[in-house]
């Protein structure tokens, strides 16, 4: 535990000095503040923020994760020759680099929300958006880690996969769902559609945003499965549970790969 915090602290120190995490936080600070100044009241800002969050945090997170692996190769190898076990080192590095990025988003976005009073007016929605951004950061930094470790010696491939995975999860995946809905429209599709969205972390986060802001529209849908899912706590629980799985699986795969990898 002492070792873990030692590694985490060291990563924090160097990242903060690297300034670009601070720059990232400042971007969200400026963005949120501008939205609040020119975009009207609470729900508009939170929804614009969540759109930006759903689109860019996955991309930034993955690139950030994979870049870290590529840039710190020799350093990580040096650390691996020290008398510590790989598991500790992995968690130290992962937590050390993902949490500052997460904190940059949360702080950057919450400060303007705070001084414009939205945090007080609509705390549950604000916290929901901030927390989702945080969780997405953690998930996609882990995915970036996995990609970096998997394509350790082939950076072009690594970055290529990053972009493809992002495009797929952020846009194409929903396109496929829509296509399926139109192609198999004669069959009952509710279960399939809910199941499909549960498998994509961006969709999961999106559904949780919908549960906060669009519940009145969702309740207009006639299907019983939808109503049970969205109308009760079941939807929120399932979605947050699946997000937790999505956080656990990539970090766990990352750990597996890291432990077995030849450096």
């Amino acid at each position: 535990m002492k070792l873990l915090t030692h590694i985490v602290q060291n990563e924090w120190k160097t990242l903060i000095r690297g300034k670009w995490v601070i720059g990232y936080g400042l971007i969200f600070l400026l963005l949120t503040d501008t939205l609040l100044r020119f975009g009207g009241g609470g729900p508009e800002v939170l929804l614009s923020l969540s759109n930006v969050m759903l689109l860019f945090i996955p991309l930034v997170g993955m690139i950030y994760g994979i870049l870290y692996i590529y840039q710190s190769r020799e350093f990580v190898e040096l650390l691996l020759t020290q008398p510590i076990n790989r598991k500790t080192l992995y968690w130290g590095l992962y937590c050390g680099i993902s949490t500052p990025l997460m904190a940059a988003f949360i702080l950057g976005a919450s400060l303007p929300l705070g001084w414009h009073g939205i945090l007080m007016i609509d705390p549950s929605a604000s916290i929901m958006v901030l927390a989702l951004g945080g969780v997405l950061t953690l998930i996609f930094v882990a995915l970036g880690f996995v990609l970096g470790l998997a394509f350790y010696d082939d950076r072009i491939k690594g970055f290529g996969f990053t972009i493809v995975i992002w495009l797929f999860m952020a846009i194409l995946y929903d396109g496929l769902i829509l296509m399926a809905i139109f192609m198999f429209g004669d069959y009952p599709l509710e279960r399939f559609v809910i199941g499909a969205t549960m498998l994509n972390p961006i969709d999961l986060a999106r559904i949780m945003v919908m549960l906060e802001f669009d519940i009145s529209a969702l309740m207009g849908y006639t299907g019983a499965v939808f109503r049970r899912f969205f109308g009760t706590a079941a939807g929120l629980f399932t979605a947050s549970g699946m997000l937790a799985v999505w956080l656990a699986v990539p970090t766990w795969i990352g750990l597996r790969v890291f432990k077995k990898k030849d450096f």
């Binding site: 009207g40 009241g41 929804l47 759903l54 846009i171 969709d203 559904i207 009145s216 309740m219 849908y221």
Partner: protein
């Protein structure tokens, strides 16, 4: 000045007292000389004042056929014992106030009510509590009644087994003011009513509608709250109705809406707030209605206007983060949208006159997709859907070309 006011209020206070001078006061008290309400009504002369002392009294189907004031002291309980009506008022100028009426009969055939007012004028029903009643206050063929400050709370969740809170049938110029109706079938029901004023009422958690309004012309309802009902207000088959400053919120469900307009004409909907309803306004076959300066916020659909509705105008409203701003069923739509604020508007204002330089098309392609394949609703707020909508907005193919706000506001209208 101050003295004058003082004197005037003193006179006002004393006025009723002088009016009582020629009237008898009858006191009903448990174990007292007169211990039943029925007995008191029987012995009373017109114009008498019956004071009911605290306690529980059994009253069923008691007809009040002479002008009386029946008043409770510290809200005595009048138990109808689930038999039939509790009070049936057939005389003019009856007043009932300060009672706690419980347990009217229930029936699938007869409209048992706590207070039924039949063919009577100038009746005042004020400051009563009604609990576990089938119908609450029922006005039939009456004129100039006032129903004020009553609380009607029942907990029957089945629509068919519950009655309406305040029910008006064939009534002229009634005033329904500051009542609270919860857990009934319809909160307030009007049929064949002329010139009623409905203000400051709260109709929450009713099984069907907060306000049910049919064949009733020249009415106004203002400053009411309709919350979490099966549907907020259904306003149908009437003309010249003013709907002002009401709050419609949290009316959710598959067939749910804040305000249903069906075959309405020449009416005004102004300065209302629609918040988190499945459909804020659903309009079918309604014409010449002005919808102005309302706030539509976080509704599923702000406006669902069927093409059977014509010449309606939506002016200076705020549309804020509704899942869908406007939906319609036809590529042609003979209604006008102008000068509204749309939070989804992405245009610019180069000449800085507060009006966007690019027209806004409030019907999303996605709303038509959802119409055909409801399951796709789950893709709401997906990046892919945003791309589709944007493409359609730039080059409209499927969405109605005529449904455009040519002068969208850049900022929220306050």
């Amino acid at each position: 000045m101050i003295q004058n006011k003082y004197i005037i209020s003193l006179i006002l206070l004393l006025l009723p007292l002088t009016a009582w001078a020629g009237q008898e006061q009858i006191i009903v008290k448990e174990g007292g000389e007169i211990s039943s309400v029925r007995q008191a009504v029987e012995i009373a002369s017109p114009g008498d004042h019956i004071l009911i002392q605290p306690g529980t009294y059994h009253v069923a189907n008691l007809e009040i056929d002479k002008p009386l004031v029946i008043e409770g002291v510290d809200r005595p309980v009048i138990d109808g014992e689930s038999v039939g009506h509790i009070f049936v008022i057939t005389a003019d100028s009856v007043e009932i106030r300060g009672l706690n009426l419980i347990n009217s009969g229930r029936s699938y055939v007869r409209d048992y009510s706590a207070i039924l007012i039949e063919k009577a004028k100038d009746v005042i029903i004020e400051d009563n509590r009604l609990e576990n009643v089938f119908f609450g206050i029922y006005l039939a063929e009456t004129e100039r009644g006032v129903i004020r400050g009553n609380r009607i709370l029942s907990f029957e969740r089945r629509e068919a087994a519950s009655g309406n809170g305040i029910h008006l049938w064939n009534v002229k110029t009634a005033k329904i003011l500051d009542n609270v109706v919860e857990g009934q079938r319809d909160g307030i029901y009007l049929e064949f009513v002329e010139g009623a004023e409905i203000s400051g009422n709260r109709a929450n958690d009713n099984n069907r509608y907060g306000l049910h309004f049919m064949f009733s012309d020249n009415c106004i309802y203002r400053g009411n709250i309709f919350r979490r009902n099966g549907a907020g207000a259904a306003v149908m088959y009437s003309r010249n109705v003013d709907m002002v400053e009401n709050l419609f919120e949290h009316n959710w469900g598959t067939a749910s809406y804040g305000l249903l307009l069906k075959d309405m004409s020449r009416s005004r909907i102004e300065r209302n707030r629609f918040y988190r309803n499945t459909v804020a306004i659903l309009s079918e076959g309604s014409n010449d209605i002005t919808v102005q300066r309302n706030d539509f916020e976080l509704n599923g659909w702000a406006v669902n206007i069927k093409s059977s509705s014509q010449r309606n105008e939506f002016l200076e409203n705020n549309f804020i983060e509704n899942s869908f701003d406007v939906a319609t069923d036809s590529p042609r739509n003979p209604n006008r949208f102008e000068g509204n604020y749309w939070s989804h508007y992405e245009g610019y204002d180069l000449d800085r006159d507060g009006i966007g330089d690019v027209p806004y098309r409030p019907v999303r392609l996605f709303s038509m997709i959802v119409d055909r394949r409801p399951e796709s609703l789950i893709l709401l707020r997906s990046m892919m859907i945003t791309l589709l909508d944007t493409a359609e907005r730039i080059m409209p193919v499927l969405t109605p070309e005529t449904l455009v706000d040519e002068k969208p506001r850049m900022e929220r209208i306050r």
